[in-house]
């Protein structure tokens, strides 16, 4: 984890420091295995064979075991330090979802009635986390998301992804007529504002804010050109209607749940792909995906490279994207407020890699105020301004890579696509 002079906390984006929990865990597991094998050589009956050698070995063993134990502790400390204070605390509470994932027999003790109650209580827990203070809210929300599918007994959970939780929620709510979305359709296509290329992260965030605040669900696509090469920037808004019932807005909560369960099934996701197709983006054209909240999740899904497009960068604000396997070389800037629970709906913590930068800030709030304030796009615009002035190595590098994408490109046009259903 690297600090900064401002209120920002960031990790990733610095090629000198890379850490993946799986690699640290792998090293730790091999040490534990060596400890176990060493201990296995000093069982009482072992001393019947080569007793003299075993006595010498036994004399060395305590120090060896102690040094290995220290090394194992160092692995745990390294993993925690790298992956922020939030991850450190999250790991402490992560035991619950991991325990249920690893011991499915625990579910047998839950009767059907209790399963329903547990599911409802967990959902209530996710909602309640918005009133917890600081990063505790995010950490608890992540844990509830991981635990939910196991508690409802409907879907097995890996313990580190939102997909199972969202699928379980879909299964429970769809029979009640909730979350059943209609067909998405474009209602208008019109010229957008005349822009020059964004010169700052704040500039990108401000354009995204304008898109998010349009009256209709709008996707803005800017086109830039350098000779024959084209570069597109796709701005995707966040969840606009927060009622649980499906609405006429494809960027509503039902789409948000569908998006986490199966991105292709979400109306909002379909709208973005439709807009990109109408814009005539070709597989050889470069695209920079930008999204807020639900829109950030869509942008990340398209940036995985699983579609026919050629992503060159991803910028998200307040979006759950930790669940995606993004290309190693892709510069990623993921901005998350520590007290915003929405990014936690990924059920995981963003990885620490060379090109994936995560920047956090805690939004100051009054006592009893809902954490939904921390999810507000205006707060993210403010954080983006701080990112522009941050001198941390990883922040500087990824910021320059993303803004540098526009070098020598000239603005051609921008188009607004409006959708309904």
């Amino acid at each position: 984890m690297s600090g900064s002079s401002s209120e920002l906390i960031s990790w990733g984006g610095d090629p000198r420091i890379v850490a993946t929990r799986s690699e640290i865990d792998r090293a730790s597991a091999l040490i534990a295995m060596a400890q176990s094998r060493l201990l296995g050589e000093v069982q009482p009956f072992d001393f019947l064979v080569e007793p003299f050698q075993r006595i010498i070995f036994a004399a060395h063993l305590p120090e060896l075991l102690f040094r290995l134990e220290k090394l194992k502790w160092a692995c745990g400390a390294a993993g925690d330090a790298y992956l922020s204070t939030e991850a450190r605390v999250a790991n402490r509470v992560h035991w619950l979802s991991q325990m249920i994932a690893q011991h499915p027999w625990l579910e047998k003790f839950l009767t059907q009635g209790n399963v329903q109650k547990a599911g409802i209580a967990t959902l209530a827990g996710i909602v309640a986390t918005q009133f917890f203070s600081g990063n505790v809210s995010k950490m608890m929300a992540r844990e509830f998301v991981d635990v939910y599918p196991s508690l409802t007994g409907l879907t097995a959970s890996s313990g580190d992804s939102s997909e199972a939780g969202a699928k379980a929620l879909q299964k429970q709510l769809q029979p009640l007529g909730l979350l059943n979305a209609g067909q998405v359709r474009m209602i208008a296509e019109q010229a957008g504002p005349n822009y020059t290329a964004p010169r700052s992260v704040a500039g990108i965030a401000q354009r995204l804010q304008l898109v998010h605040r349009q009256n209709e669900a709008t996707i803005l696509i800017e086109q830039y050109k350098q000779g024959k090469e084209k570069l597109y920037v796709v701005y995707v808004p966040g969840t606009r209607d927060k009622t649980i019932l499906p609405t006429g807005d494809p960027f509503d909560l039902s789409s948000g749940v569908a998006l986490l369960a199966d991105p292709d099934s979400a109306s909002s996701h379909q709208a973005v792909l439709d807009a990109m197709k109408r814009e005539g983006i070709d597989k050889t054209d470069k695209i920079l995906m930008v999204g807020y909240s639900q829109g950030g999740t869509i942008a990340a899904d398209i940036a995985t490279g699983d579609y026919k497009y050629k992503p060159i960068g991803l910028v998200t604000f307040g979006a759950p994207i930790a669940q995606f396997d993004l290309p190693d070389r892709l510069p990623v800037l993921s901005v998350e407020h520590t007290n915003d629970i929405v990014p936690a709906l990924s059920g995981a913590v963003n990885p620490l890699t060379t090109n994936w930068l995560t920047v956090e800030r805690e939004v100051p709030m009054d006592l009893g105020e809902s954490n939904l304030k921390a999810h507000g796009i205006s707060e993210y615009v403010s954080t983006a301004g701080q990112i522009d002035n941050d001198a941390t190595a990883g922040v500087q590098r990824i910021r320059e890579r993303i803004l540098g994408s526009f070098e020598n490109y000239k603005f051609v046009e921008s188009t607004k696509f409006e959708y309904s259903r």
Binding site: A19, I31, L64
Partner: protein, 55 residues
Amino acid sequence: MHVLAITIQEIAVGLGGARPDQTLWRGDASRAFENNLESIIAELINLGQQLAGQS
């Protein structure tokens, strides 16, 4: 060679597998970890050789 000495050599080799994959974990902590690990592996190898030399 003695059975115990061979086993210790095997454990030392197995422990070598814990060297961090630089593409997945690198930085100061990774280097410090690897240095400590190498020191323990060397000690195990020495111990194995010492035990093998005992008759």
